[in-house]
């Protein structure tokens, strides 16, 4: 039974939100034609919606507090279902086989359009995993990640335009340039602590975009660069259809490669140092870890991956301009990491699939895409900061 007290609380919340959203949601003015539209229906929606949501909100807050208490008294010994599946061979071998079959068959079953969307989702998985190294493992909030993505994309576009270099020769160049930019930007900024770092990386990201927008002689300004070559295969150029399947498999390959790399890294000497740095900088340093160098490595490695995906992005769309590299793009990749679970590979994959595919397939969502991303970041931080799938640490067995 819901108590009268609770209903009263929710009623007040509902009133407050109707008041709060009144000018923005109800009134719409057209200052040119001197015309005002009143949308009273919205007020009703806000009222009912906030009334119901406030119950959910309070319930979840209570649940979370109870969970925290349990954790403090050390009673949280339950293992997650996912963790069990991953540990037991008899579950995970069929699972991996199934996924492989689906992944291989996908472009032959579904249309080119679907394949292309899936390729985009795979690109965001790799971007997410790359940013995950920086934010999830090392705990460095990088809000300018898209800058390195732009570096990769522009290096392919420009090298292709000026010198006719092909996709495969630029892919490593893009990665290296991403790395170099990562080191160059990282070196001065990584001395800063948490929130300043976030702002500086944001600033750098915007500077790079503004330069691309204004330096016409170099980057062709806002009009961008068109007719970039699609990836070929030893000089063979494919038809549009084949090229999209080719790109799809290329991305599958890159996803697998990235998973292997990140997985190996997070259980290595360097990976552990990143996590320790995230957990407690002072203690980490006191245990003999060079803070700046460790941060720089994470930052530059993340940038390398962004550079690589940037090249693929340019090859996929065959047209790039600065509008593809705004802060919102960085924010989107960040919300993938946050939703999935900072530091968790599986989490980031699931996060990317949800956030990229959902708005594509549920048309109703696509307008609300960014609204949704913003809301997800807040809700996850408030209720489940570890993400959908919490990072699992490796366990060791010793027999005496």
């Amino acid at each position: 039974m819901i108590k009268a007290q609770e209903i009263k609380k929710s009623f007040l919340v509902s009133l407050w939100f109707m008041f709060l959203t009144f000018p923005i949601m109800v009134i719409r003015v057209n200052p040119i034609e001197k015309f005002v539209e009143w949308r009273w229906k919205n007020m009703l929606v806000v009222g009912i919606g906030s009334f119901l949501l406030s119950f959910v909100w309070r319930y979840m807050l209570k649940k979370k507090e109870a969970g925290e208490k349990r954790a403090e008294t050390g009673e949280s010994g339950k293992t997650f279902l996912i963790q069990r599946i991953l540990e037991e061979r008899r579950f995970y071998i069929p699972l991996v086989t199934g996924l492989t079959i689906i992944a291989v068959a996908f472009p032959f079953i579904f249309s080119m359009y679907q394949t292309s969307i899936m390729t985009t989702a795979l690109m965001y998985i790799v971007l997410g995993l790359g940013l995950n190294i920086v934010v999830g493992l090392a705990g460095l909030l990088d809000l300018g990640y898209v800058a390195f993505y732009a570096v990769g994309a522009y290096s392919y576009a420009l090298l292709n335009y000026h010198f006719g270099l092909g996709f495969w020769s630029v892919l490593p160049i893009g990665a290296v340039l991403g790395f170099i930019f990562g080191v160059l930007l990282g070196f001065p900024v990584l001395r800063l602590q948490g929130d300043y770092l976030a702002i500086v990386t944001l600033g750098f990201g915007e500077i790079i975009r503004l330069v691309l927008e204004n330096w016409n002689e170099f980057s062709f300004g806002p009009s961008g660069i068109a007719n970039i070559d699609r990836p070929g295969f030893f000089g063979i150029q494919f038809s549009l259809q084949t090229a999209s399947i080719y790109l799809y498999f290329l991305m599958i390959g890159l996803v697998i490669f990235t998973i292997i790399v990140v997985n190996r890294l997070q259980n290595s000497r360097i990976g552990r140092a990143w996590i320790a740095l995230r957990e407690d900088e002072t203690a980490c340093q006191a245990m003999g870890i060079d803070k700046t160098r460790t941060k720089l490595r994470a930052f530059a490695l993340g940038a390398t991956w962004a550079g690589m995906v940037g090249v693929i992005f340019a090859a996929k769309t065959t047209f790039i301009n600065p509008a593809s590299f705004t802060f919102l793009e960085s924010a989107m990749i960040l919300s993938i990491v946050v939703l999935g679970g900072m530091g968790s590979i599986l989490g980031v994959i699931i996060g990317a699939l949800i956030l990229i595919l959902l708005p594509e397939y549920l048309r109703a969502f696509s307008d609300y895409r960014m609204l949704l991303f913003g809301a997800i970041m807040v809700i996850m931080m408030v209720f489940r900061p570890q993400g959908i799938i919490a990072n699992i640490r490796r366990t060791y067995k010793f027999n005496e």
């Binding site: 190996r264 000497r269 320790a276 006191a286 803070k291």
Partner: protein
């Protein structure tokens, strides 16, 4: 007897507050020394200064690791100090909460190992071997400190006493010649304190590590220490053997009002 740590004329100011005031202190090889003094005396600040976390306003810090040359370590970053062989624990426990107990200790091995990103990705033979050595070394330390049954627990889920022990284990993993313990017995019950007493003695005897600890539990201090330094208002007001200190009127005066259960 070799002096392994020499601190000369050390002062530390925070704005207008002088937290350390011309402090002289040294530690000799193989001893267990203790720093005592009321809260706010500057004991933790002293640790922070000699481990490079704070940059002292004045003074010199010199170390002579066994078998190596004497060296000034003022201005070195904390990680350099640790690499040179001084490791510490924290008064307000600072473990890596979301890492396992074993991983916490493995972090301590970082400065004694070398594999990098490329090694980790390729996972070559030397990387695998180094990794295995790190795991074994760390596990042995856990056994020695008596928390090996907790290897795979998250540090944050450990009971308080075990967290204090893990702090020591993590510091020991860096193979220090001098171990700095900041209130290792704080919050422990009498039984845990007795076990800690044994542990510290064992570390000194079996691992060739000298120990400088800050501690309020006078019983522990008296039973363990070879020498005691007493601090008050950032100054060293006395030093000597436990029996010297107990009978020193200056010390008794400084402690008046504070309860000592010695």
């Amino acid at each position: 007897m070799n002096t392994i740590l020499e601190v000369k004329d050390l002062s530390m100011d925070f704005g207008g507050l002088r937290a350390l005031d011309h402090l002289d202190l040294n530690v000799v090889e193989g001893e267990i020394a203790a720093i005592i003094g009321p809260n706010g005396a500057g004991k933790t600040t002293f640790f922070n200064c000699i481990t490079g976390i704070y940059n002292p306003t004045e003074g010199e810090i010199l170390i002579s690791p066994p078998g190596k040359k004497r060296k000034k370590i003022n201005g070195l970053k904390p990680n350099r100090v640790t690499k040179k062989g001084m490791a510490r624990t924290f008064q307000n426990i600072r473990l890596f909460s979301n890492m396992t107990v074993l991983e916490n200790v493995m972090i301590g091995r970082h400065c004694r190992t070398s594999s990098g990103i490329v090694g980790a990705i390729l996972r070559g033979r030397s990387t695998i071997k180094e990794e295995k050595d790190v795991v074994d070394f760390s596990y042995n330390i856990l056994k020695k400190t008596g928390i090996s049954h907790l290897v795979n627990e998250f540090a944050k889920n450990l009971p308080y006493g075990a967290q204090r022990r893990l702090e020591i284990a993590r510091a020991m993993a860096t193979e220090p010649f001098l171990l700095l313990l900041d209130e290792p017995a704080a919050g422990m019950n009498p039984r845990e304190t007795r076990e800690l007493d044994e542990l510290i003695t064992r570390l000194r005897d079996e691992d060739n590590v000298s120990i400088l600890m800050i501690e309020h539990d006078m019983k522990l201090v008296m039973s363990l220490s070879d020498r005691i330094f007493v601090m008050d208002y950032g100054r060293k007001i006395a030093q000597g053997t436990p029996s010297d200190i107990i009978n020193n009127p200056v010390v008794i005066k400084a402690y008046l009002g504070e309860d000592i259960d010695a």
